[in-house]
Amino acid sequence: MSDQTVDTAVNLGLEAAVEPVPGGAVLQRRPWLGILRNALRLGRTKIGVAIVALIIVIAVFGPLAAPHSPTEFVAVPNSGPSGDAIFGADALGRDVFSRFLHGGLSVLWMAAAATLIGVGVGVGVGLVAAYSRNWLDDVLMRTSDVVLAFPQIILALLAVSAIGPKLWLIVLVVGVSHMPRVARVMRGAAQEVVERDFVKAAEAVGEKRSRIVFGELLPNVTSPLLVELGLRMTYSIGLVAAVSFLGFGLQPPAADWGLMIYENRLSITVQTWSVLLPVLAIGLLTVGTNLITDGIARAAIGIDRTSAR
């Protein structure tokens, strides 16, 4: 592929008008792939990917490896590490390690789903607003501002206390609370693209609006999109865990990292592990996603500077 790229380049004499860029500009077939590839060369991204992969493995395969059922009483409440329960027992006498291994999946899938909803809707709203440049832009962005006025956690708690602690509701509300933030960023990125002539060229030949937005604009804003995905994932993890911690997520006796912290917080001085394990996991996960996002953002700057004019 890359050989062929260079080949075409030479045949076409592409070097005609451009001044040479020291080090050579990388030709990017698919910009977002190139960004991801460049991001992976950065140390911070590698660390981030390693952390996130570790947590995902724990969350997905943990239940298979757990020595006990998460609801089984195995020892004296708040007892320390022993041969049967290597991280001891929680406030009700259940195995901390088993509950930890069982408790990750819910945080992960809820955060991922909320991120996808938030970024998906946000991208649509942002691009449509940027392209419309009329009353629709105002309506969309002012509506977003209203959502933006509420802190995300308050919005989530409001919905959950009104309708009940349903998991889909948490996912939906967290997603919706991401929407205006994503929309703002995407609108800003797309506004500059909208003014370029190729958009006018598409209008002149009568392309449908939806095609202009998703066919012409979207491919030109992939780097902020990638960064938003990572960033919103980080926030989603925190929010979902927080909602669980406040008791509105998974209900006892289910195992969940946020819930574990809540259940064992009073006995933290006696049995540290039952709080420390889920805290560490959530903390590492957010740090990991954040490192990846940071790597992507840095790689995107480099790539956007050399190509994509």
Partner: protein
Amino acid sequence: MSATAVEVHDLRIELVGRDVDVVDEISLEIRPGEVLGLVGESGSGKTTVGMALLGHVRRGGRVGGGAVMIDGNDLAHLDNAGLRKLRGGTVAYIPQDPGTSLNPALRLRVQLREMLDAHAGTTTEAERDARLRQSLEEVALPSDDTFLARYPHQLSGGQQQRVAIAMAFACRPNVIVCDEPTTGLDVTTQARVLQTVRGLCQSHQVAALYVSHDLAVVAELADRVAVMYAGRIVEAGTRDQLFGAARHPYTRRLLRAVPDLEGKRAVVGIPGFAPLPGRRPEWCFFEPRCPLATDVCRSAFPPAFEFEPGHRARCYHADQAPREVPVEGATAVSVAHEPELALAIRGLDAHYGSRATLFGIDLDVHRHECLALVGESGSGKTTLARCVAGLHKDYTGAVMLRDEVLPPAARSRSDAARQQIQYVFQNPYASLNPRRTVGQTIARQLELFFPGRRDMGERVGECLERVALSASAAAAYPDELSGGERQRVAIARALAAEPAVMVCDEITSALDVSVQAAIIDLLRELRTSMGLSLLFITHNLALIRTIADRVAVMTEGRIVELGPTAQVLEHPSAPYTQQLLANTPSIAAVG
């Protein structure tokens, strides 16, 4: 004062970390009061040389050899403080785009004072103020307090450029470097700016290096001319020697590519591309494109041969070049047709918000005809083109395709109408989606207008071949193509719709002259082979001679003259056209 103000010996500027030269073997000298024109196409290294006179090398490059002497001082021996003193004081610089080089947040007085404060030494407040006003008067700008209190955005482009010139001359430099200072300006403004520069250079005995891609401008202004190609000076001589009896094949081809007001000959492009640093052959860089190339050309880079005192060219065949550079100029097409209406504009008034920009435009474009629409910036020509294409819907009056009145917005027009009128944009760097391959871009156009047809790959190939690109270009992304190639792709996209009328909005103004000539050639050919009508919009009067059948001259939103090309160019009736013609620089004026 020494005999020469600027002396450059064998200057080499290379890329850091790679043994690749950007420019090499550059030698030139400029005497006080003399203007040296440095001509070359994009990427030839002319700006790099210009910057070297200021002791500046772009990031990623460094001086690899040779010397730049200003007033006998080698710039290599100056430290940063010395260079700062030099720049603006001894060597001044006039940038290409005054709109970005003036600080938009500073009033003119502050802006001009900065320069004087930095370089004028121990003068009194009153002296500086007087000098400041004087420098404005020198460039024929008002010097009263109200003018000095203005911000750059309150000036026109020409005024901004003259402020930049005033700043450059304010500290009485010995050397001045002009980097295409008139590129963004209208011909009328350009003529005034050129006059100012020439006058000041003479009256203050300043040595000027005038960097430009525009041969006609250089022909008007320079005493001596050096032509650069791929990082080397290939020919140098006095203005008359160079424009009257150019020796190097590249110079000769370049001159043939320049459209000219007087000549009726067709412009001819130069096939091929200038090689990039690192990809240059070990022999003559022009050899791959040269019609005179023989084995000796492939032996080594030719040394400079001197013909007359001061006239040198680096070509083994320079002595035969004058006799034979075989270029067959296509003769102008003038197919006689019964005038049949393709596009009509009737009583068109256009507005931007509450501001009216076009007033009662009536215009016909016949079938197979090329109608040129000429005007300076702000004349409304692009607005008119956009009205025709349905991109500017804020107008009253009628745009008619044959006898069908079209709705203003492209979106509300019929598919047939959108297909029949195709628009090619000025800037090929912006009009192609950078995230789509050339093939995808053209295929989309085909899909839109001829849905359901098969063999897409083949048809995309045909479209590309029609504009003299190889079918393999379909796999390329726009940023892998040169400006000329991109514009060809944009034309191929328009032609893919098989239109009746093609609206070309300044489609060559972002391109080099040799590329421009090739594009013009292509358009002329397509017109005959596809039976196309063209609405060709340009600010370049010289260009229309070779392509247009009729010309409409626009100013301030009105058409002031309309007639056959030859008549308008030779016997203009409107005063505005006469003035425009008088201000257009021309190489034919030489010798």
